[in-house]
Amino acid sequence: MTHSTVEPTPASATPDGGHLLELRDLHVEFRTNEGVARVINGVSYHLDAGETLAVLGESGSGKSVTAQAIMGILDTPPAFVRSGQILYRGQDLLTGSEEQRRQVRGKEIAMIFQDALSALNPVFPVGWQIGETLRQRAGMSRGDARRRAIELMDLVKIPGAAKRIGDYPHQFSGGMRQRVMIAMALALDPKVLIADEPTTALDVTVQAQIMDLLADLRRDLNMAMILITHDLGVVAGVADRIAVMYAGRIVEHADVRSLYKAPAHPYTKGLLESIPRMDVRGQELSTIKGLPPNLMRIPSGCPFHPRCPYVQQVCVDVVPHDLVLGDGRTSACHFAQEVRDDSAR
């Protein structure tokens, strides 16, 4: 890895790191009647051409909202991007016009969603929905769009694509529906594919097939991919780097191998330890105590401190900065070194 990864402080970030996609100190909040929920609190990460970044975190950690902010499909209101930059090829998407952002969607950055059944329009045939992108965005004729839609469905390995093009979403199985979603996202040859929990709604065996498909397609089409998931198992075989999110922050960022070998943030460590293992028997499965924080009242200091086994007074008082651990690893923990050394043992 040649690039230095997440900078310790966004202010000192290089003006143009040459990344394909780069988020700098993104803040998003939800303004509701009950108050303001700070959902994203200074997220910075980058993505280079052809690589896969996994964004890991539990529900409500802000991983999907970050992705929707990149796409520019946040529901505003209630969601507002308060500050930060989203640079695509060095251009800040947030300062562009809505029309410029629309041009980027689908063509440069495409996205697939968790629940393909609700993400597809129930009253239009799948071929029509795939073709719509081609007709509307690439100016294809009806016939060309149809032929291309069949090709795309073949590409994502939907058996009998030509026959199934007129079927409706509810006529497909969960895995096939997700393939339709993927085909639709690939229609305009995007450079970045954001997969938001693409396998969460699927059976375990189908999960593996979809992940394999995504990995193959990413390689064959030379895309970069952001894989959003809460499932550590999904990540291992596919991702190059992992960014772990907690309470709207990136708490740890590392390449897959070193993160699995020795997590340097107590949260990541807790996540890894809570995976059931076949080779360890007769031991109670360890869990992370407590609940994710209420985003309207994020704890002082390190947001993880109420649940953290390493907690000290400094964690309550001071927000930890990203600590650079070498190899481009960072961890937003006052005791990052200690945690990593503990984990490595």
């Binding site: 499909i73 993400a119 129930p122 965005r137 979603m181």
Partner: protein, 312 residues
Amino acid sequence: MFRYILRRLLQMVLAFFGTTLIVYALMFAGQGDPIQALAGERPVTAAQRAYLTEKYHLDATGVGGFFYRYFDYVRSLLQGDLGQSLTGRQIGDILQAAWPVTLKLALIALAVAIIFGVTAGVIAGIRRASIFDNSTLVLTLLVLGIPTIVLAPLAQYFLGVKWQLFPPTAGSDPTFYALLLPGIVLGSLSLATALRLTRTSVAENLRADYVRTARSKGLVKRRIVTVHVLRNSLIPVVTFLGVELGNLMSGAIITEGVFNIPGVGFNLFRGIRTEDGPLVVGIVSVLVVVYLVSNLVVDVLYAVLDPRIRYE
């Protein structure tokens, strides 16, 4: 689908017999002496009484006699003979004259509901919580709250009599213009319901996941709303309007009464008032069929509009 329709048709036969039986029973159970009712105030001679008793099978008494007369009635009904009203007119002729008027009125009312209700509902749904949305909500609540029996005379008095924008009554063989005001009054209720239904449906669908997908495809907002959202939002609205057309076709007793429109509802009301049993039962029997058929059409239409609906 075919089997579904067949089953529904069989159910309709049952529903038809059930409703006509009830209406027939209610209408004739209340009468004291049907022959005297037929004759009105005039005295009835013994010969006339004997003839009428023979004609209407009134010699058979009790439950057996009732069913005998009922099935006799249904038999001629199935042959297309609705019989005669107590005034001696063929009920078939009465309906033939009344129905086109009611149909015209119903179509005007439905057009009003579609043009204003659905359009305003779409706008209100897109601009939720705006001034437009809130004012339509209040207005529709007002319309839904005022019964037609109040709304119709009010509209007639102000728009027809006082400001003379419309003819206050329609009369026999009414023109389109004469039916416009009654049509608006009649349609206002459907309009209010259609508006609220459309608004809710559009607002709900705008938040649907597939809209997020459509946005992430980079479609322009206009297309997302007019193609993706509308196509889904209008499914319940079209269904409602279909049922509503069935309702409107069965005539509007109050509106037709107030504006003196010789439609189905008007005749039905007259039949009830003059205790004209054959007329009431005749009209209601036909209305039952109209209602059942229109409901079946709506259900089939629903399956056409929403591919997820499959009838077995």
